[in-house]
Subunit: 221 residues, 2 copies
């Protein structure tokens, strides 16, 4: 009864027509990516890991670049899902949603650092691929949603200002994600609430960086 089923019964592989080789290759590649590192990811190694011939992956992905693009596509999908899941567990209030999504952003990066880097290293990907653009667009939309909600909650109406705020939110999360997975700063969870000791400084910092005139009420302190 083997030939009628579209997927192999268990882990057994029949000769020719794997059934779901493309996904099997992607899963193997994702595992290999985090274990072996991004530059040890090879079509041949992935193929032999699944148990097919060395040229089998090329049929599904075209090239190594195609495989990377496919990996980034599932990466962006999982990325958006992680942020959505984090938001779902948080109170339905703009600021809580914003902070939950940021936690999701960071936990995805720390959980799949190699994939995260691959997704955001544009020259290695094929951005003409429709699936990749769709997946990345979905994640981008997720990001726009909660940052725009936070912006509106803060009273912003100018679209340009809202976009600038979105960039600020994105840049902070993205930078912290990169620095954490590169081991340059410890995960933010290790530095919980120390900023409470000096709210003024942190609050004013954003103003200083972004060319916003500082509050005049307590100028010199």
């Amino acid at each position: 009864m083997g030939p009628s089923a579209s997927a192999p019964a268990s882990g057994v592989r029949q000769a020719y027509h794997h059934g779901d080789l493309r996904n099997a290759l992607i899963d193997a590649a994702l595992a290999m990516l985090e274990v072996e590192g991004a530059d040890h990811l090879s079509l041949r190694a992935v193929a032999s890991s699944v148990g097919v011939s060395h040229a089998a992956p090329a049929h599904h992905f075209g090239s190594l670049r195609g495989l990377r693009t496919a990996l980034a596509t599932v990466g962006f999908t999982r990325f958006a899902a992680t942020m959505r899941a984090a938001r779902a567990k948080a109170p339905d209030e703009p600021i809580a949603q914003l902070r939950a999504a940021r936690d999701g952003y960071l936990s995805f990066a720390t959980g799949s650092p190699a994939l995260f880097r691959l997704m955001f290293t544009s020259p290695e990907l094929d951005w003409n691929d429709a699936a990749l653009c769709a997946a990345a667009g979905g994640a981008r939309q997720e990001l726009s949603d909660y940052s725009a909600a936070a912006a509106r909650h803060l009273g912003l109406t100018d679209p340009h200002a809202i976009m600038r705020l979105e960039h600020l939110i994105w840049a902070e999360a993205h930078g912290e994600a990169h620095l954490v997975i590169d081991g340059r700063i410890p995960p933010s969870s290790a530095l919980p609430e120390i900023d409470k000791a000096s709210p003024l400084a942190v609050v004013d910092l954003a103003a200083l960086i972004y060319a916003v005139p500082a509050r005049t009420e307590g100028d010199g302190a």
Copy 2:
């Protein structure tokens, strides 16, 4: 004539003993890195670009990883120099210094995107290399200097809080750098002063992200 000089007179290369082959290889590799992309950087291509045999680079760098490490080392040195130069042209005041250094951070990243990515992609580098650690430590010191000065200017004294502030500054610049060179957001120079329209929102955002209690004075408005 020829044999006594330690460096080739002009562009001419004599057989054997290039004179300054290590630096020549680094320069060629830096050029190739930005033009061809990081994954097309090869010892053999760099060698033939300089005009030496395919195994010559191995003698100076040991391996491709060693070449990458050497490139990252000069990268970090130039990186720190770029921030220092930007600061030197700014007024000698903590906040102006902070913003100038941030501009230097971003201009280095946009000027050498491939090198910037290489420098901050840890798994591809040998962090046991003393020169790399020294160069990266210098850049890190530069960053600590101006952010600590800004922190003190804002009245911060707790070392833990100062460090947290440094991470915030670093993450924002680093994230924006990555997003810009990946083409995901336009360079910040294209979005100059629009935040002035709504200073409160941007100012309060940092408080919201970083678990700092928002100001109670003007809560709703």
